[in-house]
């Protein structure tokens, strides 16, 4: 199952010209700076923005080609706008029911109860929309889009209008959508943090064109793309909770390349987690150090090296096919004799658990 789209949209301010192919599963993030065309692309997928000779197929549903244009209300999609945009003349329950009523009974796969439960809005159902907080509104909007059992869910920066506290309030709900529902999600964002937490697949947009597209772990470590550079460069590793160590209050997390040791997290054994390893937290040694406080050490092979500023280099390392980034000084690189294919040990000073 894939989503294939070609759009050419000419607006006064800018031109969107994309040819897109992404998997119709998991979370795909449309990522890029403001004004790069992310929202326009999402709107084009929803049919809210029209391009004359566009093409769009979502799985086996043809939504647009040279002669056909399926209008938005006939596309089986859910859309969450940047501002919650709840209907102010309806209460929360009626907002949810508005969409559900218009979906044929045979197509209803997500029940209203399930949507309400997933977003934790059971308490709000009889409330008027203007009494809700920003975070509550956005949760209702997400539940409303979900409750119509869409074949695909589109979200346009659903968190950007919210402050940090509200963002933290909603993030777990979004993550649970990702984990519990089998609905592909296309998510527009300009926040690297959100993308690192949620996305499986990334489409980078720059000035209305696609800069790169691929699995998130790959895109984040590709030197020809901007995300693998700068202070925030980091690799993402998919892993699972392996066990807990009660004596030292630690949690062990396994990935393809070995086992991470992190401070205890109350997660069940086998729970999938995502680890974010910043390039600046990874140092390299020639031998496996034994006399060190660092617990997370993995054998790696140098894959590619690129100059980073005046004094530093960025190194892409691979362990069992999993890419990692390390940012070290040029001098260290020289002393280690770094070159492609060289075997080393990566010492990881700290790692962030994203879910």
């Amino acid at each position: 199952m894939t989503i294939e789209g070609r759009f050419k949209i000419n607006r006064e301010e800018f031109l969107l010209d994309v040819d897109l192919e992404i998997p119709a599963r998991g979370v795909t993030a449309l990522f890029g700076p403001s004004g790069c065309g992310k929202t326009t692309l999402l709107r084009a997928i929803a049919g809210l923005e029209r391009s004359d000779d566009g093409f769009l197929r979502v799985g086996d549903m043809l939504w647009q080609d040279g002669t056909n244009f399926v209008p938005p209300h006939k596309r089986q999609l859910g859309y969450v706008f940047q501002e919650a945009s709840l209907f102010t003349h309806l209460n929360v329950r009626q907002n949810l029911e508005y969409g559900i009523k218009r979906v044929p009974a045979a197509e209803r796969k997500v029940s209203m109860e399930r949507a309400v439960e997933l977003l934790g809005i059971g308490e709000l159902l009889e409330r008027a929309t203007d009494g809700l907080s920003g975070g509550e509104r956005q949760r209702v909007a997400i539940a409303r889009a979900l409750a119509i059992s869409p074949k695909i869910l589109l979200m346009d920066e659903p968190l950007s209008a919210l402050d940090m506290v509200r963002k933290r309030e909603i993030m777990p709900y979004l993550e649970s959508l990702h984990d519990e529902l089998d609905i592909p999600l296309i998510y527009v964002s300009h926040s690297p943090d959100e993308v690192a937490r949620l996305a499986d697949h990334l489409v980078l947009l720059e000035n209305g064109r696609i800069g790169g597209t691929g699995a998130i772990g790959e895109i984040l470590t590709r030197f020809d793309l901007p995300l693998a550079h700068g202070d925030d460069a980091a690799a993402l590793i998919e892993a699972r909770v392996a066990s807990h160590d009660a004596q030292f209050n630690l949690t062990y997390i396994d990935f393809l390349g070995g086992r991470f040791t992190v401070a205890h997290r109350a997660l069940p054994i086998g729970h999938p987690v995502r680890l974010r390893v910043a390039a600046r937290d990874v140092s390299l040694t020639r031998e496996h150090q034994s006399g060190t406080s660092i617990l997370n050490i993995f054998p790696v092979v140098v894959d590619e090296i690129t100059i980073e500023g005046n004094a530093q280099v960025m190194v892409r390392l691979v362990t069992e096919g999993i890419p990692l980034l390390s940012r070290i000084t040029r001098k260290s690189a020289d002393l280690l004799g770094l070159e492609q294919g060289k075997s080393l040990y990566a010492q990881i000073k700290s790692v962030a658990l994203l879910s």
Binding site: L48, F87, R102
Partner: protein, 226 residues
């Protein structure tokens, strides 16, 4: 107290205002909807035409209508050709005049209400599977309800209070086309101040009550943007 002709004038006035308001809402809603959303380059021309009765002396408007609706005018001629009567000096003629004269009072509040709603709720409704007509009926109309109230009351009240246009095209036929405002004028000309007081007082009270109703229902909305 009220003479029989006065009561007839009140009845004709209310009937005229009610019929005109219904027609105005039926015509004004699609027009206002279209004007609120179109990016048509010459929209300003249409807006100016709709707003003309606001600035034009009613006698000018009435004069042109009289010419158009009379037996030698294009509309009146057409009516005769179709086997009907010219509209000048008939109740139907009054309705036509009132609809044109009160059009801005209905279209402008509706247009402003529709503009305030904006595109977004309609897009949301579209992504929730509502067809264009469905979302107009279930989203745009309810969200514009205060605009409708304003439009209906202003259209009604303005028709009740009209004078010049009616005088020009309706003449002053008691029991047929004589409306309140003209009956008052007749009483004053005949120095029947008692009758004029009764009718004027009734009109004043009616207008006041209608506006109170609008402001009460519309407290949350900035009304009467004309």
């Amino acid at each position: 107290m009220l003479a029989e002709s006065d009561i007839a004038a009140i009845a004709i006035t209310l009937k005229l205002a009610a019929i005109s308001t219904v027609i105005l809402l039926l015509l004004g809603t699609p027009l206002a909807w279209w004007m609120a959303r179109t990016r048509w380059r010459f929209k300003v021309l249409l807006e100016a035409v709709v707003a003309l009765p606001l600035v034009l002396p009613p006698t000018v408007l009435g004069f042109y209508l009289l010419v158009a609706l009379g037996p030698h005018g294009p509309v009146g001629g057409l009516m005769e050709w179709l086997g009907g009567q010219p509209l000048a000096f008939t109740f139907a003629g009054l309705v036509v005049g009132s609809v044109i004269y009160s059009m801005p009072f209905v279209v402008q509040p509706l247009q402003s209400a529709f503009s305030t709603i904006g595109q977004r709720p309609m897009e949301v409704a579209a992504t929730l599977r509502a067809s264009p007509l469905d979302r107009f009926l279930t989203v745009a109309l309810p969200l514009a309800r205060s605009g409708f109230l304003t439009a209906a009351v202003l259209g009604f009240a303005h028709t009740v209070g009209e004078f010049g246009v009616v005088l020009m095209i309706g003449g002053n036929i008691p029991g047929e086309t004589q409306v309140l405002s003209i009956a008052i004028y007749d009483h004053v000309e005949a120095l029947e101040y008692g009758h004029a007081h009764w009718l004027s007082g009734a009109l004043l009270l009616l207008s006041f009550l209608m506006l109170v109703a609008v402001y009460t229902f519309n407290r949350r909305f900035s009304v009467v943007k004309i």
